[in-house]
Amino acid sequence: MSDTGIGKSVKRTEDIRFITGTGRYTDDINRPGQVWAVFVRSPHAHAKIRNIDIRRASAAPGVVGVFTGKDVGADKIGNLICGWMIHSKDGSPMKAGVHSVLATERVRYVGDHVVVVIAESKNQARDAAELVEVDYEPLPAVVRLADAQTRGQPQLHDEAPNNTVYQWHLGDKAAVDAAFASAAHRTKLEFVNNRLVPNAIEPRAAVAEYDTGTGSYTLYTTSQNPHVTRLVMSAFIGIAPENKLRVIAPDVGGGFGSKIFIYAEEVVCTWAARKVGRPVKWVSDRNESFLADAHGRDHLTIAEAAMDAEGKVLALHVRTKANLGAYLSTFSSAVPTYLYAPLLSGQYDIPAIYCEVDAVYTNTTPVDAYRGAGRPEAAFVIERLVEVAAREMGIDPAEFRMRNFIRKFPHQTPVLFAYDAGNYPACMKLALENADYSGFAARKQASAAKGKLRGIGLSAYIEACGIAPSQAIGQLGAGVGGWESAEIRVNVTGTVEVLTGSHAHGQGHETTFAQVVSERLGIPIEQVTVIHGDTDKVQMGMGTYGSRSGPVGASAIYRAIDKVIVKATKVAARCMEVPDDGVEFADGIFSARGTNRTMKFGEVALQAYVAHKFNPAEIEPGLKESAFFDPPNFTFPSGVHIAEVEIDPETGKTRIERWSAVDDFGNLINPMIVEGQVHGGVAQGVGQAMLENTVYDDNGQLLTASFMDYCLPRASDLPSLNVGMTNTPCPSNPLGVKGCGEAGAIAAPAALINAITNAIGHEDIDMPATPFAVWRAAQQHEKQAAE
């Protein structure tokens, strides 16, 4: 067992370039002769475009091209797509409006892309962009999710009457109605799941070039899944055939979902590179990121739970309106449906669940997957419901959850999923212990003595990762497969290159994937290099989203290694002159059973390439294998997070005093990295619950379009986090791993709101619970107390 193998907290090899400033992000790439693109964006939430006059801009200093949707259309460049078909409960397909890469007739949100200006320098492009004259006829806008479907509201797309994309449902309504009729207690809540702006610290960027000699394009872009970008740009948008389009996602500075999607900017830059005959570079400003990166969440939900007299949950009924913004972004349709409703069962044995979701258009930035994507929304619903139900019924919330936990696996929920493994009570017990749950009452008293309100809140979340098997998601409307690919290239000297379709933008794959190889092949980790993010190097892959790189990406590597070992064993057998089944492989050594003959892995690799010791009719020379891994099920990470807060009722300031998380991600490849993923997820969940407020005014102007008004969590907003683990291996992949990237963001919001409502003594507060909101809610509590 090597000290760089599976289960070891190996320091990250990729760190060296990041801590020395030698990483290579898209904005660090400059091509000879490159020019700069700046996009002219709509200042209106909704308007007709009467006319676009580019004459002054075209004549401005340094300008090499100004293009509109007409120019793009003349080259038969297609529209942006949404890759997941959802059918409404009446069987009709979702109603998708046209999403052009440059708007020609109408704009539908502030930030909508209208014209691209390309000039020698970024400043010149910006200067010229201000000279583009777009004659808009402003139209009334519909901004509020609650209003979107109301008759008489402005309509965004002719294809979608009442701004309704689909009216979808899941579950058995009759069974739910029956359970409610016989319930001893019902708990009903209405809440907002607030819209979030992802805000990876690296803004999106693209550098595109066209090689006239070969007729091929190269696009460097901030993508989580370059192959999917290439596929969509090729097969649907028609930039170039896949074999003439190379997409490279170099170092990428965070994604959180927002860099999965295929956006207008990279399409236009790639097209324009040929048009102007020079490499074209675009780098988003932060303000532009706020307007033009797909946002996350944005639900309104009414949810009701039915309990028997002992607090056993009998049924759930959930009605959600989901705001998808002005257009359907790449995977937006799947987020409030199949990534949401199937999670509503949480960790609980609930006999009946029914969920209805209306997805709507509004004159706001498109909404798509953001860290957790549907699953945080579901966890918030179920974890608020059980917490409040417990409080209403006078049962301790931890005890209430224990009574309802699923205890036998596999478990089929009433909403699609078959949970494969878990140990929910074990997680809960450890979390309560780590949080010193029993000591809370004394701490609350101590806070009260200082005039402070203290609260504790739990969240026992479930997640579904992997977004596979392909056959199953295909039946649900997915346009792509859910597998991942890997290729193991063993070099002549025994060093190894791992080519993976997963993309790393902070997850540490270069280390964790190398650990898998180091462990399995028994070679030092320094001899392993992980290559990703380049469609010319790596065969088709699906990229990184939905916490799938461990369970699906690393599993594909595992399977490819299996094949390498099988072949290397054959080679070793020939070299040591024993039958194939007479060779054992362990810790990097091939041993001929019953002899003292052994060969190191590197020696076998050399023999595979020199091919002196075997008949090529029996064994092909070389040592390189690939695998596509398509898991048989989703994976189901789970955990319990406990937040403890202290509120200053004078100002509404909430301080997080303690955070105790216990997660079950199955086996761990690198515990240090897994904990880091939990920390980051919790921070984003805390941001959603307390800090991040996305506010549009009635005209559709985004009032919180910079860090001056949109509060990203800072170091002083967060405490140190106590992260513990239980490890119930996942049976659905060879590594037994479950995925860990989104857990914190899924768990945290409910834990925190449960803690805040516990502190203020009532349930009437929405996310984000900013100081202002908490102050108002606490005042209400004071008034109630006085009465």
Binding site: T20, Y25, A200, G254, G680, F707
Partner: protein, 163 residues
């Protein structure tokens, strides 16, 4: 266009630039020091932090011309692969980075904290002093630990040097 001359990472450099050129743009576009990053336009994220005459500043909020004659240190001047500064080493040892984009600015700010507050730093001090640096990946937990460990290591190496 105007001429600017300054010392960057110990080397005297000059460039002909538009007056509106920011220090960050001079470093990235003219000197190819791309370790200094740009993450916002309102001087908040801190990905662009460098040292000017020994003090941490946001290079996206300084005109390059106003740094005429100044001594500038960027992340590239702190330590190289194979010869890491203790603070850089602490960031790796404590898993204080994920995507790495905010990291150069974090390290430059951390060194400024040590300059002002010394090598023994408690958690509350570090969290407060990181006010000007945003990270979206780590939740700061490991950054706080790394800054404390890096500061400690800087103190220890000074002690060793003195002995």
């Amino acid at each position: 266009m105007a001429a600017v001359s300054l010392t960057v990472n110990g080397k005297t450099v000059g460039a002909e630039i538009e007056p509106r050129t920011l220090l960050s743009a001079l470093l990235r576009d003219h000197l190819n020091l791309t370790g200094t990053h740009i993450g916002c336009d309102t001087s908040q994220c801190g990905a662009c932090v460098v040292h000017v005459n020994g003090k941490a500043v946001k290079s996206c909020t300084r005109l390059a011309l106003s740094c005429e004659g100044a001594k500038v240190t960027t992340i590239e001047g702190v330590g190289r692969p194979g010869n890491l500064h203790p603070m850089q080493q602490a960031f790796q040892d404590n898993h204080a980075l994920q995507c790495g984009f905010c990291t150069p600015g974090m390290i430059m700010s951390a060194l400024d904290i040590v300059r002002r507050k010394g090598t023994r730093l408690d958690e509350a001090t570090i969290r407060k002093e990181l006010e000007g640096n945003l990270c979206r990946c780590t939740g700061y937990h490991n950054i706080v630990r790394a800054v404390a460990a890096g500061a400690q290591a800087m103190g220890d190496s000074k002690l060793q040097a003195a002995e």
